[in-house]
Symmetry: D2
Subunit: 406 residues, 4 copies
């Protein structure tokens, strides 16, 4: 196999990726370019730059991708009311394709022949990164240290760090027994006592939301404005996509909204326990369904619902850059042309309740037809008889043949 000359590493500035940085040089005798992205994980990026510099990295890329993340990844996904396995809002899954794309762009720019990441060989993230790399640059060399090296435990990793002089204060999440990941959409927790699905996580684990018990005793009401399926304003104030999500995170977090605790099925074949805080996303899912409820045709909505689990699996499994995800997205986007209007929500101690929805331009709710009062001929009740009779016909014919009974 050809020698590697230059590798672009997805670098967080933490201990693990710092060890990887060193290990890559030790093992492949290659130059390492670091790439650190701000996707709203809530950490300063300058320390990562400083560390990379101190470790002698010559080409350091630090990008603020928050707007691109929400506009081109989070929002399109929410247009489909996406939930994996009925519960998971895909906070980690949706960030990986962006990292992969940017990493390949940088590799192309700096003339690198390889990329590397810090995801383990047991998880979904390696798949999400690498399917992205391969789809966007099919001949790229990928180095996944966790699948290659012999630093197979935290102890060995620490020993290596010490031996190679990597500062241990770099250790991220030191006080946490959990493996965490964060971006503007969510923060996730795995490992620790979560490895026993019968145990409840301790209250101290959660970082982004207050417990419902500690949320305000008074509800917060908000109004979200939708244009083509995306939120463009909160309480009438226009905002950029990333600002929308940040604002909803703040509102949701303060009201104890968005905690999820599930056992999910990984693409690589095992079940794993995860806990998530997705305050803004939880609000957005509820609100998007509400605005669609008055602006989408029934059968369009049902077609979207039928395909949603498949779309969710594609994202969960790392197929964002696949042609089938793009093809589904075409359809989803086409459906959103009429999804315009306003949703009013009540936020209270963990609950998101829809209390109103309206759309001057696109509402299909027709009070004159739906009313319980006299409708002056808008709807002829006698039509229902024929409707039912023809819908029943096949069952009647079958029943006459002495079938169809329990």
């Amino acid at each position: 196999m050809a020698k590697i000359k230059k590798v672009v590493l997805a670098y967080s500035g933490g201990l693990d990726t710092s060890v990887i940085l060193t290990w890559l040089r030790d093992t492949y005798d290659c130059e390492v370019v670091t790439f650190t992205a701000d996707i709203g994980q809530g950490e300063e990026l300058e320390p990562a730059r400083a560390k990379a510099k101190k470790m002698g990295v010559k080409e350091i890329f630090i990008d603020d991708l928050k707007e691109e993340f929400v506009r081109d990844f989070v929002f399109p996904m929410f247009r489909a009311n996406t939930l994996y396995e009925g519960e998971y809002l895909l906070g980690t899954s949706i960030a990986r394709p962006l990292i992969a794309k940017r990493q390949i762009e940088i590799a192309n720019k700096v003339g690198a022949d390889a990329v590397s990441h810090g995801a383990t060989g047991k998880g979904n993230d390696q798949v999400r990164f690498e399917l992205g790399y391969y789809a966007l640059r099919p001949d790229i060399r990928i180095i996944a240290p966790w699948r290659e090296w012999d630093l197979t435990s935290r102890e060995k990793l620490m020993a290596y760090a010490e031996k190679r002089g990597i500062p241990v204060e770099m250790k991220r999440g030191k006080k946490s027994p959990y493996s965490m990941d964060a971006n503007l959409l969510h923060i996730s927790y795995e490992g620790g006592i979560l490895e026993d699905p019968w145990k409840e996580p301790e209250a101290s684990m959660w970082r982004w939301t207050v417990a419902p018990e500690k949320a305000p005793n008074k509800a917060t009401y908000i109004e979200l404005t939708y244009k083509k399926g995306d939120i463009t304003a909160i309480n009438g104030k226009a905002m950029s996509p990333a600002t929308v999500l940040a604002t909803l995170n703040q509102l949701g977090g303060a009201n104890g909204i968005g905690r999820t605790d599930i056992v999910e099925n990984r693409y690589v074949g095992m079940k794993s326990r995860g806990a998530y805080e997705t305050p803004g996303g939880t609000i957005m899912l509820k609100a998007h369904r509400a605005i669609e409820s008055i602006t989408l045709d029934r059968e369009v909505a049902h077609l979207k619902d039928d395909l949603m689990p498949r779309y969710a699996s594609l994202i969960y499994n790392g197929y964002w850059w696949s042609p089938e995800r793009r093809m589904l997205q075409e359809m989803i986007n086409a459906s959103q042309a009429t999804v315009n209007g306003v949703v009013r929500l009540k936020l209270y101690k963990g609950n998101v309740t829809v209390v109103g929805r309206k759309s001057d331009s696109d509402s299909l709710f027709d009070a004159t037809i739906a009313t319980f009062e006299e409708d002056k001929g808008a709807y002829n009740q006698k039509d229902a008889e024929g409707f039912i009779k023809l819908n029943a016909l096949r069952m009647r014919i079958a029943a006459k043949r002495k079938r169809g009974k329990t």
Copy 2:
């Protein structure tokens, strides 16, 4: 068309169906048999018997169908994690097929040639009743007075009642501006100010649940035991299906759980606003997903998720007795053989949170594989490389053909 001799009327004892009773005799000069079912709507049935008697009905059927309702209708539906349009737990929809079935059984027994119901010509319920009637007795005559008569407003109905001496104290829901329907699974509200989807219903509308604001400040923890996908015990105490649901309604209602406010798409073609209280059902949905999360194979779970919206629509649209619903049910039931175990839940001010799930007999959660710690060879991380490479192959080939880029 042949003359009608005897008709079995689904009779609630309220004003509407009492008017229908009289109108049927007036219009068809036929004998009317009344049928009143207890499906947990929370009303005394003996008054209905007394009223029917007073109105001269000779054959009066009053049945307690609560156990059959939950065992043969509600529980099978929950095995599929059924939600219509992402929100509605189908409380009304799932009760109609049972009423239809029992009504036909009575018609067969008493030698009736027709059945009648009090559902309007604008709603889904007429469809649900009548598809059931036709599927179970294809030659039955159906009389749907709301589609036939000229009592097209409440005023005309009242006038008719007065003229024909039907006691006005019979009027049900007198103080409520809402059209309501209740059974052991839920209570529903339509009409009134709900006809404007922008208006929040007044606090006084809700009847089964306390507002989250008024729920206890301390969480309630419960444990639900599952056998083949159905709950058989609460907090270790074995219970019949109807008792399970009644108990969960009580627990949920006391903790402010189960309110939903949506705009839904009716089968007859219009959108309508509905508010629902489904306290026990809300708990059951969350808990069932949790027990499945550790006991179901991933692809089985995904297949169920893919088909759920279709199954939900079948029930919503009234096709419970159709061959396709039965066929789907075969598959759903087959999937539940391993859905055994216990789920632990926290109920607090409107929130249902899963805090634990276990299954001694059937858990597929394997901590030795999922762990972040060393797994002693249970999983070979190197396998992931080949897995990713072959999954990426088609995208790499395409990318080499200069495709697949945005």
Copy 3:
């Protein structure tokens, strides 16, 4: 109900629609505008004009819609490899939406308040026409004489024609015991001995194709050129859509290709026997799958296959103008960007055999990877081990739990 002033009638020039023309005037005392379309049914249109004139029609519309029919209806449908119930190429179904659209355009132009058609109350065509009318002009009045009048048998119809002086020589298909419908895509037969599904239609029924037995003893080879999923040339000669289809009809018909004899499920609830000749369409389906086989990504092709039956039902049931059909079409069309190339076919006595397919610009077939010979590292066979192991993991975990065995 408001009086009707002017009605646009879909007029074939045959006996039935001539009777309808008269009956409309008799019954509604309204003006009748006739509309006759050439969609390739193979009949002269001028006689229809002459008859309409003779019957005193003042506004007569006769349109050649063949190119629009193939370009905007047939070709888009074939992009999806559409088959209803595994067998039917939807020849009748796909023509109705175009007729409906044009009829509404004429109604708008001439200021008509109603439209009328000659489809019976038992078939699918009434649904296809009327869903189109309503979708394109929601307030249109529709007159479906077969559902209204008392001319419920052929005898009564003939008697009416005689009484009202409608020339009996107008009678179409006089010598045929079958009800027929034709357009550029197909000719269909119903009724007569076809009403017994056990009986084989007589050889004389078929009109467009020779029997395979009478087709040439020597095969015909052709090459079809595809651009974005549509055929643009035959044997290298560029042609318009309608010319493509007409040419393939001639080639297929001469080689005994395209006869189908099925029992299908009508939207209105009963089963019916139909026989169809679709020579060009049969060739197109086979060829389109072949060109897709080398130019479409696997998962895109599978997604299309999964949704095809649903798309087919939408067209069969008359929902061409629905938002859900349009939404699916967006996705289907998006998939065809790379469907470019050439397919070589052998036509012989009823058989269409693909004997070659190529695409210089878009083939995803990579001989260096697929070869049985040494591939010089294009594919690493060892990758398969990890691929299989991770795909098997969930089943292995389950099997260890003593499950998964028969």
Copy 4:
């Protein structure tokens, strides 16, 4: 990794698996047990026994699995009208799970700790074998020599054979440039000039069917009797499953039926060209759809059609023993209870034409309703108006909102 003691090899008696037999001993110093199955490939098995004996194998298993193959694998698959990618009848795919199952049974019986097969690392068969092995015995060791050894070309393989004294007369398919696989359902061809998808295979390639050109000039008519979806008699003569298929192969082959030439998408990620002869299967698919057309409810049939591509992919990809395939099978089998009756077919020079279908017990075809003649009230045409109006309602409401137009 633990040493291997005893391995069960799927042994054909040909050169490749004879080399594998020797290589396994050389490489793993283990005992090899051979297993050769008769699944209708049309080769004598006793030579395989003799060769194995000569090579010193002590435990030799030779099983006639033809009846089990058709009864438990082929027939269940045909109940679903299964086609992969619209064309492929899955002849190879459906045989692998049976081989895998029997191989594991033998491994359990003889106390083997490993199994081995001769499938390459590029194909689907390795996946089908190994997913079966793992699902049925999760801890089994699998040896796939083609992925491990360095005999990466035919030349190297031949050299090894010569060196180790393996008789070269063993070479199977010596005169054929194609890689072939056969069983009672089909024979397949890959490689050779098929590696260029533009080239037509030479006439001499095909082995099981005559060319349509050389088939009899007179059609053959046959009648197939169905019970619960499976064929139980041909021309009124009851037959076992394997005899049914063998008879149909003979009939189809003689009439030039069942050749397919496609480019398919392999599970491992590349496209490959394959040619297949499936004479009996081609007849069975057509006939099964025909008997279902009169005995299956419309929506049941459509549900089956919607899920068929997924079911086909599961089999193609090797997931026969997966829980999701079994779950789908439950549903498919449940649907076949009424699939009873007789289908009459015409076989002529490559064409299979349905000319009749009947079912005394289960036909849902009702001539009195479908007729074009007067039906004496069996169907009320006026019902269609309400049916259409309510189905159109959502589109009318939308159109009134100035939407829904192109």
